[in-house]
Symmetry: C2
DNA sequence: TCCATATTTCAATGATCCTTGAATTATTGA
DNA sequence: TCAATAATTCAAGGATCATTGAAATATGGA
């Protein structure tokens, strides 16, 4: 993830409906959700959800694939991880004061210790 | 950092000049930089840099304090860490697939291991 | 007090973004 | 083929954002 991508990704996440969509898709996992289901759950009109899904896809944070009449959207875990990495490493220069609290969170959900990752 | 703050922070980081400012302030450390020095280094007009600094302060990612004639801006490490934490924990639900690569980065710059943090 | 320095505020302009509803495209089943 | 479902595209509008230059504010020194 380079700076240009990160700028677009930050812009994508700076809108309430879009942040909501991303959170739903992360939770929904690899199966993803159809555009209609997203619209219904987010209580947004089909045309409006389509606008935001397009924006999120442009940012690379989600991907789409057609499945019969529906279009299934899925969170792009790699891109999301890349954005977190950009924020820690590039933007914050790996500053320990900033990254340490993040490391605590990461340690709780990630299976590996510091040693195992080096 | 709650969702409303995160939305504002993402918006703040989605603009090239502002992302540049944050990166400079992180590197410059606790001493921070005067508005004029930021403007000069970023090659942006004083009035324009003031606009962006105000936006960044509103987001909580930087803080200001007057020092004689200058106004010194400093990166808010806590807020930056909070944003990373939000992205990993709230937005991505602590998903290991997303957070593991981030954990690797954190392990490199943070002094603590998983065990030490629990 | 007067001037220079450092920065912000303000108004105006153009650009981008968000929302809405109508029209369009794509797919499936009768 | 025809109708129904699922989603996107398009045009129009209002709202927000970014940039500019001029004017205003705050501070420190002669």
């Amino acid at each position: 993830m380079d700076q240009r991508q990160a700028l677009v990704a930050f812009g994508a996440l700076s809108q309430e409906t879009r942040l909501h969509i991303v959170r739903m898709l992360v939770v929904s996992g690899p199966n993803g959700m159809a555009a209609g289901a997203i619209a219904e759950k987010a209580e947004v009109s089909p045309s409006n959800i389509s606008f935001h899904l397009k924006e999120l896809e442009r940012s690379g944070l989600i991907t789409q694939q057609r499945e019969s009449r529906s279009i299934i959207y899925t969170a792009n875990y790699e891109a999301l991880g890349g954005l977190i990495r950009f924020l820690m490493e590039d933007c914050c220069s790996g500053n320990p004061q900033i990254c340490a609290p993040a490391a605590a969170v990461a340690a709780c959900c990630a299976p590996a210790t510091k040693e195992e990752l080096q």
